[in-house]
Structures are given as structure tokens and as C-alpha cells.
């Protein structure tokens, strides 16, 4: 099964390498084909893993001496997230094909090779990170995703976009120092880069490694104080924002932290306490930042920040001993990926058709574009955690885990309560915008909207369905 994972990774990278050598017209198709093949591999892997008794396997691909340098882990965690990442990646390539054309009202464009090459490479890097069994593998792909993100944020080459791209790269790179340190400590402590070895570390080393990973994770997942890059990263083309800055790259942080927590056995409580506190601080900060946002994408960026905080909170709780919270965290990674991608793609559809993504000028979407209107509602409700949409299920489990842990750690209870209050607040805020934008008579921008390409419609519908179903998939998967 590891062959399938490896194939998915390689297909993407090879495709990305080939794209610059081809004429510009071919780039789109190669990219979509590459993503489709990668998705096919991952799909087969998922099905086979799901039906094959779900044995976790780790294969070492590269080792020197007795040090494992790079390998693939196929377990329920990596397969689930890998599936989401590659699936959404494929959807994004389809969506991008329609989005990047001259008919786009906000950014008329021809879809240059650079875009598709970076996007495909990113899919590969993401899959590589998810399946990686070693911390060095994670570090490498961590950096590659950062580089791809840099290339894609600056895609439009406006000075502002380039500055934002650079900011994103540097801030995450700065945070990745933590991962460097963690990797070094892991190697020195266990003689291997294998994450599986973390459980064998001494307490001090474990705390150092975990904090290193946590800092890197904060950077990549845009948590305070490294969050500055994410709202600015919205200069990227919208499919990119959807994929990199909502569904996958920002999940790198939480994913590596989740892996670390899962591999390190007993975790000293200080990690969990610090993680949970920072998560809630970010949560509240992110919420307060909703308030002044008028740009839909910026609003979504802050929403991503807070949702990632939930995952950090959950993982911190997991490190304090709640298995429930761990499952909740993983499910939330999975669910939020679909819901937030949907929301971003709705934003993309709006800017494509209406030429703007400023909320005050988007009114009466339902009347002109029922599909987009429905998707808007579904996405908002899914993100804010209203059943039967997916966000609720994972949030519920996270909170349940919090109450479970609060017995041993008194500090956790107020944190969970704050998180719950934030959840109401963010619900209110999104509901407000839903009420403002979706029903009622159309504004001029919406009334004169261009038709939405079929490919984009298909992707939206798929994501709407996933926004309802994904929690059940995650739930049945994680057991």
C-alpha cells in the first residue's frame, strides 16, 4: 500500500517537473491529469486500507546505516488526511481550470504554467508530508509547501502579492526553526528520524521536541503570534487560498503536531497546557478580528485561524490524555478542509462572476445564483458547527474531550468555556453575513453577474455534499 502513496507523491512531483517544459496550453491538462491520477492512487489506497483490516504499516524508503531517513506511514490517520488533501487538490485543479481564464471578472488571466506547476508540486508535497514517517521528511515537505505557497501567493505578481508571499514564506520559515531543532533533538536522542521513536525520549527531550514541533506548527497554521501571514496571503488566487490557506497547507502545522502527539506516548502536561492556552488566545483574537472584515476572503482567513485553534486546542487536550479530543481534532482537520474549501470557492465563484468579494456589495445571492447561495449557507453553517453539517460533529467531540480532561486539569475548563462562547460568537457573525448576503433583492454586482462555469459548479456541488457527509466518513473511519 505504501507503493500507492509513493506513486501519488511521485506522480505529482513528476507532473510538476514536466509542466514548465510544455507549452502553456498543455499545462492545465497535465496538472489536472496529474492530480486525477494522484487522487486515483490515494482513492485506491483508501479503499484498500479501509477494507483491508486497517493495519498501520510503516515502510522505510531511505535509510543510512540504521537511521531511518525517510519512509511512509500508512495508518488510519495518514490515509484519512491524505485522502482529503489529494481529493481537494484534485477538485482545486478542476476548479482552477475554469477559474483562471479571461472571463474572470476580478482577475482576468490565462493560467500560466507556473501556477499549475506549483499547484501540482504542492499536492505532491502535501501528500508526502502526510504520509511521511520521519520528522525529516516532514521538515522537507514542510519547507516545500512553504516554497510552493510563496510561488502561488505571489502569482499575480502585484507588489502587494509579492510582499505577502514573502511574508508568508519568512514567517513560516522562522517558525520552522522549531522543527529543525526538534528534528535534531530527535535524531540525537533516538538515533533515528522516525517519529515512532518519540515515545522513547526522556521527558526533557520530549518537551523540547514537542515544543519545537508546536512552534513550527503555530507558524504554519497561522496561530498567534505567527498568524500575520495568513490574512495577507489572501492575495493569492482564490482556489489557492482555498486549498493552501484553508484545506491543506495550514493543516500541515496541526498535522505534524497531531503526529507528534500520537507518536510520543505519555506527554508531559506542560505541552498541553501551553498549547491549549495559546489556542484559546488565538481563538479569541481571531474572532475579534472577524468584526472589522469586509473582504470575504480576509474574513475567511481569520475564520481559518480560529478553526485551527480549535484543532490545536483539541490536540493539546489529547496530549493531556483525551483520546476523544484526538479523534475530534483529526475529524476537524478533515471536516474543516471540505467546509472551508467550499467557502473559499464560493468566494472565488463570487469574485469570478461579480468581480468583487467585498461583502457589503454582495447581496441577494440566492436570487441570482441559487447554487452559490446554498453553498454559502452550507459553508457558513458547517464552519460554525451547526448540525447536520460536518463542523458540529468534530467540534462536539472536541468539547466533549475538553470536559473529559477538565477533571484533571482545572485550567482547561475555563478555556473550554471560552471556546464555546467563541463558537457562539463566530456563529452569530457568520449568520449575520449569511442573512445579509444570501436572501433578499440582488445588489447591482450580483444582479449583473456572469454565468458560472460548469466545472466550478460541479466542484461546488461536490463540496456541498462533502460538507454534509465528511463527518460521517471521518467518524466511521476513526471508529
Amino acid at each position: 500500500m505504501d507503493k500507492l502513496a509513493l506513486a501519488a507523491i511521485l506522480v505529482s512531483f513528476i507532473g510538476a517537473g514536466v509542466i514548465p517544459l510544455l507549452p502553456q496550453k498543455a499545462a492545465k491538462w497535465v496538472c489536472q491529469a496529474g492530480a486525477a491520477i494522484a487522487f486515483l492512487f490515494v482513492l485506491i489506497l483508501t479503499v484498500r486500507f479501509g477494507t483491508g483490516g486497517t493495519h498501520a504499516t510503516t515502510t522505510t524508503l531511505l535509510s543510512v546505516g540504521d537511521i531511518q531517513v525517510f519512509g511512509l506511514t500508512v495508518d488510519s490517520l495518514s490515509v484519512l488526511i491524505g485522502f482529503a488533501v489529494v481529493f481537494i487538490g484534485f477538485l482545486i485543479t478542476v476548479y482552477s481550470g475554469a477559474y483562471l481564464n479571461a472571463g474572470n471578472r476580478e482577475h482576468p488571466d490565462s493560467g500560466r504554467r507556473r501556477y499549475y506547476a506549483f499547484l501540482l508540486a504542492f499536492i505532491g508535497a502535501m501528500a508526502g508530508l502526510v504520509f511521511s514517517s520521519t520528522i525529516i521528511g516532514q521538515l522537507v515537505f514542510f519547507e516545500i509547501t512553504g516554497a510552493c505557497s510563496w510561488g502561488l501567493i505571489g502569482y499575480y505578481e502585484k507588489p502587494r502579492a509579492l510582499r505577502s508571499a514573502m511574508k508568508a514564506l519568512l514567517v513560516t520559515h522562522l517558525a520552522s526553526i522549531g522543527l529543525y531543532v526538534a528534528a535534531a533533538y530527535l535524531l540525537l536522542g533516538t538515533g533515528s528520524f522516525a517519529l515512532a521513536g518519540m515515545a522513547g525520549l526522556g521527558d526533557t527531550a520530549k518537551v523540547i521536541v514537542l515544543f519545537g514541533i508546536l512552534i513550527a506548527a503555530w507558524g504554519k497554521s497561522a496561530q498567534l503570534p505567527f498568524h500575520v501571514w495568513l490574512p495577507d496571503a489572501m492575495e493569492a488566487p482564490t482556489p489557492i487560498s482555498a486549498y493552501l490557506h484553508a484545506a491543506s497547507m495550514v493543516k500541515v502545522g496541526v498535522y505534524i503536531f497531531a503526529r507528534a502527539i500520537a507518536s510520543s506516548g505519555e506527554v508531559p502536561p506542560v505541552v498541553g497546557i501551553v498549547g491549549a492556552t495559546m489556542a484559546v488566545v488565538t481563538l479569541i483574537y481571531g474572532f475579534v478580528m472577524y468584526l472589522p472584515q469586509k473582504d470575504l476572503k480576509r474574513l475567511l482567513a481569520y475564520s481559518t485561524i480560529t478553526q485551527l485553534s480549535y484543532i490545536f486546542l483539541a490536540l493539546s487536550l489529547a496530549s493531556l490524555g483525551s483520546e476523544l479530543a484526538f479523534k475530534g481534532a483529526i475529524a476537524h482537520i478533515f471536516n474543516h478542509a471540505f467546509a472551508k474549501t467550499l467557502f473559499f470557492l464560493v468566494a472565488g465563484a463570487l469574485s469570478y462572476t461579480c468581480g468583487t468579494r467585498m461583502l457589503p456589495s454582495l447581496r441577494g445571492i440566492m436570487k441570482r445564483m441559487p447554487l452559490v447561495g446554498i453553498a454559502f449557507c452550507v459553508a457558513a453553517l458547517a464552519i460554525t458547527g451547526v448540525p447536520p453539517f460536518n463542523g458540529f460533529f468534530s467540534k462536539f467531540v472536541i468539547f466533549a474531550g475538553g470536559f473529559e480532561v477538565s477533571g484533571q486539569h482545572l485550567l482547561i475548563l475555563p478555556l473550554i468555556v471560552l471556546a464555546m462562547i467563541e463558537s457562539i460568537g463566530s456563529f452569530a457573525w457568520f449568520l449575520r453575513w449569511v442573512g445579509f448576503s444570501v436572501p433578499g433583492p440582488s445588489s447591482t454586482e450580483v444582479a449583473t453577474a456572469a454565468p458560472l462555469p460548469v466545472a466550478m459548479q460541479v466542484v461546488l456541488v461536490t463540496l456541498v455534499i462533502m460538507s454534509v457527509c465528511s463527518s460521517f466518513i471521518a467518524a466511521s473511519w476513526l471508529g
Partner: protein, 672 residues
Amino acid sequence: MAPLLLLTLSLLAYAGGGTASLLLGRNERAAIATAGLSGAAAAVLGLAASLPVVIAGAGPVFDAAGPYPFARFVLRFDALAAFMVLVISLISLVTSIYSLAYVREYSGRGVGAMGFFMNLFIASMMLVVVVDNAFWFLIFFEMMTLASYFLVIFDRDEKSVSAGFLYFLVAHAGSVAIMAAFFILAAHAGSFDFEAFRHTSLSPGAASVVFLLGFLGFGAKAGMIPLHIWLPSAHPAAPSHASALMSGVMIKIGVFGIIKVGVDLLGGGIAWWGLLVLACGAVSSVLGVIYALAEHDIKKLLAYHSVENIGIILMGVGVGMVGVATEQPAVAVLGFLAGLYHLLNHAVFKGLLFLGAGAVISRMHTKDMEEMGGLARRMPWTAAAFLTGALAISAIPPLNGFVSEWFAYQALFSAALGGSFGVKLLAPVAAVALALTGALAVMCFVKAYGVTFTGQPRSAHAAHATEVPKEMLAGMGVLAGLCVLLGLGAPVVAPVIGRVAAAVAGQGQLALAHGTLVAPGSLDQAALSTPLVAVLLLGLLTLPLAIVGYFKGRRSAGRRTEGAWHCGYAEDPHMAATAGSFAASMKVNFRPLYRVRTVLNHGSEALDAGLRWTTAMATRVEPTWDAGIVAPVTRGVQAVGQQVQRIQQGDFRVYCLYIVAALVVLLFAAVR
């Protein structure tokens, strides 16, 4: 057939009908018919499922695995659940029939979706009451809110959207509070099954926290003062049959939840919980009716009456809880009886009133009573039905409202006889509040009925109104009939509900009926025979008529029909008391209470101001990261770099000196 099977079929019918309606969206007639008929059929199935259980007082339990290990899908069809299903099905049956005609009003605005949301709404309400796992409970609770939210904003105008926002927000906040309560329970019980909750004993402190959270959450749903703010705007915004369901049934889920948490899950526990419920009930009832009096919008008026009636129900429930906590079985059962009976009654007559209001509005195209008048002549059946509802809600014997309020009085009095000082103090006060409420309710409905249906038409619409279609009349007729039946049939109905109440209180059955008499436990205290009252009242009505007939003189025949200024007796629209003039004196007398409402509104203004301030702060804070950290760091690095560049100032002779300097420093390091 087994109740659970019927229940499942009923749910399937709702789901299937709703989905079909949604899919039929373009074909509106078919969609309306599908939604309405399937809803009616499902409601009948629901009735069939619940009636036996209600009568038997106990029902089956169903258990299946859920997607998460902790989320077992447990259905518990006990007496209380069945009673709630009964109430839901009853109103749903009526509204479904009513909708067949009424929804045509909305054609061209997505009636398919309306049918879908209606059916979804009803189905999720049913699931909320029968499900026995906290996780699923919350899901269905939220889905119920979600579906009704879309009904509230169905008009898609600014007013309904903001009403829907407020509604959903409060409900969601409530559900989060409930969630927290369940989490605390689950943390102790180790499971999310209600069954496990029931067998967990919490410390009094924790139990109180759980109860308060639940009380807040469900109280918000119930529309209890001070958590009622959403209700007067949300109910009127929805289509009338949806309002009937929301007001008639959905807010009762809140009451149901309070009973569930306070009595079922926590086992009654502590006396002050009951007193709290009682006090909130009293306040809600009085304030609700007072605010209702001041309303000119017919649906808003009805909405405030819902607040009032929830108050009355809560008084009963409060007494019941006090009874359970203080181990006074009779008081407990009586209290719950009063609460549940009123719950059923309120569902019936409030449903009726909203449907009636809907009928009027569908002809008037306004909700403002000031523009109505004289409709009784043009819409006689509607008027009759509305009148029945008005009489019932005003607790005029022998209709159902009177019976349940009578039980409420009895419950309060019997509670006042025993129990602690607090109970002794509060119960009579509550009784007084109930009395005041009753009086004001009468006044309010005199106004509502009088202004709407009697006198002269005050607008062109009113002058040209016609009767509504048969389906709507049928719906109203059923409910009007039920008002009478539940009143007259009290000797039959009360023992049935008594059994439910006993099951809730966990006590034995109370003997409630003696022939045509209804008695609160013992005949010594008080007894009521609604059939007798009816006969007496009929007699009372016939007597004056006979007298009038007998003394009918010429004077009345020779009345001049000239205008008043021409010394005639002809009516003029300006002569009739308007809605405003009716309430004017009340507004003066109860000024302080109205001011409470203004203060509450100010509260929301304060919230707005807070939001504005926070937004302003956020606007200021957001760029400070860039301006305060990122920019200084980058600029700092640049500046340091530029300073460092001075090292490379161009003169190689100086460079040579650098080398010498390095050599000297390192040599010192070497020989040190």
C-alpha cells in the same frame, strides 16, 4: 402496530414528503400538495404511535450504534415523549391541512423549500423528544432551530432576516449552554446516553450548574422572560402555519427540556430549582400579557401571549419540581399535570389563533390590527374559530384554557399549603400573578377580537375581504373543536395527562376524575365539572336572549340610521375603539413594566455599542502586528544592514587594518 414502527413511518413520511416537495420545487401545486398531504399522513401516524403510549403511560426503547462510539442512537418512547409527540402531531396535522391552501399565498417564492423545511422542522422536533442520547438530542435540537430559521427568514426582507438572526443566535447560544450541561453530565457518567445520566449522582453544586445551564438553554428556547427577546419578532416573521407550530409546539420543547434536565436526568434534586422555574413562570406570564396588550400587530400580540402561556406552563412545572424535590407526590403530580395540560391546551388554542391570524392576514395583507375591523361579517367561520381560540386562551369556562389554569391554581394552592417558607411565600404570589394574567388576557383578547372582527372595516382590504378556502377552515375547525373537547372532556383527558405527569414525577397515579368531576387529587380541596359549567353557561346565554326577545320593543326598530352628527345611530369606523385606545389605560397604569422592556431594548443597544467598540478596537489592532512587529523588524534589519554596510566603505587601506585588527584580537585569544 408497534409504536416505534409507527413513529418511524411517521418520520419517514415527513422526510419523504419534505424531500419530494423540495425536488418538485418547480411544480408548485404538486409541491404544496405533497408537503401538506404527507405532513398530514405523517401526523396521523404520529398520533397513532403516541396515543397508546400516552394512555398506557410507558413505551418502548430502541437502541442502535451511532457513528461515534459514544453516540448510540437510542430512542426512548416514554410517556412524556409520547405526550410531546402527540402534541406535535396534533398541531402538525392541522397545519398540514391548513397549508394546502395557505401556502398558495407564497407561490413563486419557493414553496417547495417551504414544504421541505416545514416537514424537516416537525420531524426534528419529534426526534428531539424521543431521542435518548445527548449527542443526538443536540443534533436534532439544532436541526429544529435550523429548519425553523429558514421558515422565519422566508420572506427574505430585512425585518425577517434580522428576526431570524436573533432567533437563531439565541437558540444556538441556548444549545451551547445545553451542550455544556450535557458535557458535565457526560464527564461524570462516562457516556452520553441519557440512561447513564439518570444513574449518575452529582454533587449538589455540579448538579445545580448543570440545571442552570439547561434552564438557560431551554428557557431561551421556551421564550421565557428575560430570554424571550427573539420570540416577538421571530414568530410573526414566519408564515402563519409555521408560527402556529413554533408557538404552539416548538417553544414547548423548551419546557420539555427543562423537565428533562431538571427532573428526568437530575432526578428533581433541589427545591430552589423548582422555585426558580416558578418565579420565572410568574414573571413571564404577567409581563408577557402586559406586553401583548400594547401590540397592534396581531401576530406579535399572539407571540407575546405565547410568552405569557409559557409562563403559566412553567408555573405548573415549577410546582411539580418543588413537589418532587420536597417529596410531596400530590403536589408534584398536580404541578406537572397543570403544566402539561396547559402545554397541550396552549398548543391547541395558540395554533388556532395563529391559523386564524394567518387567515386574516392572507386576506388583509397586513398584520396591523388598526387596519382591520368588521371582518366577522365577511369571514364568519374564521371569526368563529378565532373567537373560540380567544375564549380558550382567556380561560373562559368551559373551554380548555380554563381547565388547565384551574389545575394551575390548584397546584399553586396545594403547594402553598405545605413546603418551606420560600414555597409558602412564592406560591400565593404566583397565584396572584396568574389571576392578574387571566384578567389581562381577557382584556387583551377582547381587544384583539373586537378590533379585528367587529365594528366597521378600517381599510379597503378589510371591506372587501372574503372567507378563506375550505382547507384552512378545516384546519381551524379541528382546533376549535379540540378547544371545546379538551375543555368539556376534562374528566376524561385529565386522568390520561395525569398519568403522564405521574410518570414524570415518578409517582403513583392521582385520582383526578370522579364522573364528570375533575378534582386535584382529593375532592375536599376543589372540584370542577366542565360539562356542568357548559350547561350552566348555555343556560346563562339563553336566559338573556329570552328576556330580550320578550321585552323587544319598538324603540329599537325605529332607530335612525343617520350619522351620529345627524342624531342617528349609524356606526362609523372612528367610533369603534381601536387597538391603541384599548391599551392606552394599560400603558399608563403599567408604565414601569413597559419601561422594563425599554430597558431590555437598551440592553441590546449597549450590546451594539460594545460591538462597535470592539470592532473599532479590532480595526485598530489588526494592522498593529504589521506596523508594530513585522515592519519594525524588517526595517530594523534593513537599517542594521545599512549601518553594517559602512564597514565596507571602499578604502582598501582600512580593509588591511581590519585584517591586522583581527590578527591582534585572535593573537590575544591565543596567548591569553
